[in-house]
């Protein structure tokens, strides 16, 4: 399988780094960003097949970032990831155009599956 370029956005570095490392071990080129602003910067410089975005972040939160990305980078599917358990939030995210809404702690295989599906959809 061809390498996927993934942008992983989460303010929690303790979570972000090991996740990125695990994804990289699975042939996924993973760029990390600890805030929405940094994610937008990364998006300016690189092309991504997919973005995994934490919903709850200080400053620009996941939903704001999602809105911006749907506007400026509609080609990059967004998978929302959250420790929150609000159905309303999930529905809102999907309405805003998120590809998938996953709950932390997420099973790695589940995440990989979602990532690949989103990238595959984009390819089509």
């Amino acid at each position: 399988m061809a390498d996927l370029r993934l942008l992983f956005v989460d303010d929690e570095v303790e979570f972000l780094e090991p996740m990125a490392e695990r994804l990289r071990r699975r042939q996924i080129s993973c760029t990390t960003a600890q805030s929405g602003d940094r994610a937008l910067e990364a998006l300016k410089q690189e092309q991504f097949d997919c973005a995994v975005v934490d919903v709850k972040m200080p400053g620009m939160d996941g939903l704001d970032l999602l809105r911006r990305m749907r506007q400026d980078y509609p080609g990059v599917p967004v998978i929302l990831l959250t420790g929150h358990a609000s159905v309303e939030l999930g529905v809102q995210g999907l309405e805003l155009g998120a590809f998938e809404y996953l709950m932390k702690p997420v099973d790695l295989d589940e995440l990989l599956d979602a990532v690949r599906r989103s990238a595959g959809q984009k390819a089509r």
């Binding site: 979570f15 090991p18 490392e21």
Partner: protein, 552 residues
């Protein structure tokens, strides 16, 4: 020792019984007493007037009798000469003649003015006796006619006489007759008397002038208070032999005799007169009212208990529902705080896992793998708990679709069939043929089935029977999952639906949320879940799905 929680009901029943009893008996008794008093009053009035008229009638009868006798005697005296009257044969013929005409005389005698008995016919040996010293002799000589009281006289036997003076040949003669006292007595009592009544004649001295079998004897002093002279009929009430009696008296002309009639005041036999229909009805009431009161009190109490139980059940279910919602809200509030650390642990240990997998030659690699797996399992456990808790806060109703309950159950069973073979558990299916397709939610229904079946299998462990029962009940579908496990102790039975309550222990991990979730789901589907268990025999969980789940 009585069960303390039953006491309030018993007391309530007692109170209800008493109130009903009072409502039934008080009017009954009041009416009975009032009626009885009214009846007594009326009866007394009636008795007074009856007694009064009786006394009048008897007095007239006796008067007529005496008058007639006297008149006959006078007639006889006037019509016969002294010579004739001196002849005993003539006297005897007169006596027979009079007796045959119904005049009540016993004997006849002619007295000379010196008081000597000149002639006599009758049962006594009185011929030749001197009557001049007798008190009546003087009277008849003066008044011309005389009627005596009852007295003993020469014959030493109570009797009564009538005497008439006849003047012939310059001398006075007296015709004397003894009156049949039995006839007089009979006249007074003629026509019979009511029970408890008595009629008699007394003289001024209060002595009986009439006789009545063994009860009163002639000339005996009567047991009555002295009767003053009065005109007309006098009515009085007095106590006699412990009973209230009505006494009517009337004096005969001449005031020498008084007719006395007395009768018990009616209605003294008490409230309960055995012959009265009212009495029987009242007695019936006394029996029926308590019985009815008891029956009604019992019935009402049962209704109250039913309502109470229903209310308690409702309260419990509301309380349970609120508890679940509260847990849900709490879970939603802290979800982020727990899920994030869990996610970090999972990610970190994931890296470790990756490293170990990539370096199989590391020392203690097996132990690393083992311990990593354990950490991952615990993360998974925490994650599940959070997911389930969060489920409580969701209020989104399930999508409804046509569901074949039997098929849904069978499909669920197929998930666990492999486990069954391993643990030698037999499945017994009892499916009704009339189970309808209902509108419900398949996924949620199966979640309930899976939970119940898993619980049943955990309870049986090995070697046992899992009974699955599906039948139709009034259009609803009832599913029963029965196991042959050890059963649930009674003290735990009420708590099995509480969140975090679990009787399971040991190797398997349990959140204690399974049945709580089942209950939530059943509530959401408009159905019910219930449990029956007898320790030693097993446990039966019943779920009832309505024909069409109601949307919230």
């Amino acid at each position: 020792m009585p069960e303390p929680h039953k006491n309030p009901y018993r007391r309530l029943r007692g109170q209800m019984f008493l109130v009903l009893l009072c409502f039934g008996l008080i009017p009954l008794i009041t009416i009975r007493i009032a009626g009885s008093l009214e009846y007594r009053k009326a009866a007394a009035a009636r008795a007074r007037s009856a007694l009064e008229s009786m006394v009048k009638n008897r007095k007239v009868t006796v008067e007529l009798f005496l008058e007639e006798t006297m008149r006959q005697l006078e007639l006889l005296t006037a019509a016969s000469s002294v010579e004739q009257l001196s002849n005993p044969q003539f006297l005897e013929s007169l006596r027979t003649q009079m007796q045959s005409r119904g005049v009540a005389i016993v004997d006849l005698g002619l007295l000379a003015d010196n008081g000597r008995h000149v002639a006599y016919v009758g049962p006594y040996k009185l011929q030749g006796l001197d009557y001049s010293s007798q008190p009546w002799f003087e009277q008849v000589m003066v008044l011309g006619r005389y009627q005596s009281d009852i007295f003993l006289g020469y014959r030493r036997f109570p009797h009564m006489i009538m005497a008439v003076k006849k003047r012939q040949g310059g001398r006075d003669w007296i015709l004397r007759a003894t009156i049949d006292t039995d006839l007089l007595s009979g006249l007074v009592r003629e026509g019979g008397l009511e029970s408890g009544a008595d009629v008699f004649i007394l003289n001024r001295a209060g002595e009986y002038q009439t006789r009545y079998s063994d009860e009163h004897h002639l000339m005996e002093k009567a047991d009555v208070s002295p009767i003053p002279l009065h005109s007309g009929v006098r009515l009085a009430e007095e106590r006699h032999n412990g009973r209230r009696e009505l006494v009517a008296t009337v004096w005969f002309p001449g005031d020498s005799w008084v007719l006395v009639a007395r009768q018990q005041v009616p209605g003294q036999s008490g409230l309960l007169d055995a012959h009265s229909l009212v009495t029987w009805l009242s007695l019936l009431g006394l029996v029926v009212v308590p019985v009815l009161s008891h029956v009604i009190a019992r019935h009402r109490l049962k209704q109250i208990q039913g309502l109470e139980a229903e209310r308690a059940g409702l309260y419990e279910s509301v309380a349970q529902s609120q508890k679940m919602a509260a847990i849900g809200r709490l879970a939603a509030g802290v979800a982020h705080e727990i899920n994030n650390p869990l996610a970090i642990i999972q990610a970190q240990v994931g890296v470790l896992s990756d490293i170990v997998t990539e370096n199989p030659d590391l020392a203690h690699v097996a132990e690393f793998k083992d311990r990593i797996a354990k950490v991952e399992a615990q993360v998974e456990r925490g994650r599940k708990v959070m997911r389930r808790l969060l489920g409580f806060s969701r209020r989104v109703g399930p999508e409804l679709e046509p569901v074949n309950v039997v098929a849904a159950l069978d499909e669920t069973v197929s998930f666990v069939e492999k486990d069954l073979e391993a643990s030698r558990i037999r499945i017994v299916r009892e499916y009704g043929s009339d189970v309808p397709i209902i509108r419900s939610n398949l996924a949620q229904m199966q979640q309930v089935f899976l939970n119940l079946i898993n619980n049943a299998l955990d309870a049986i462990r090995e070697d046992g029977e899992l009974r699955l029962l599906v039948r139709c009940a009034d259009g609803d579908v009832v599913v029963k999952v029965a196991d042959t496990g050890p059963g649930i102790p009674e003290k735990d039975l009420a708590r099995v639906f509480e969140p975090f309550f679990s009787t399971k222990s040991g190797d398997k991990q349990h959140t204690g949320l399974g049945l709580a979730i089942c209950q939530e789901i059943m509530r959401g589907l408009g159905g019910r879940i219930s449990v029956e268990s007898s320790p030693g025999t097993g446990t039966v969980f019943s779920v009832r799905f309505p024909q069409e789940a109601e949307r919230e």
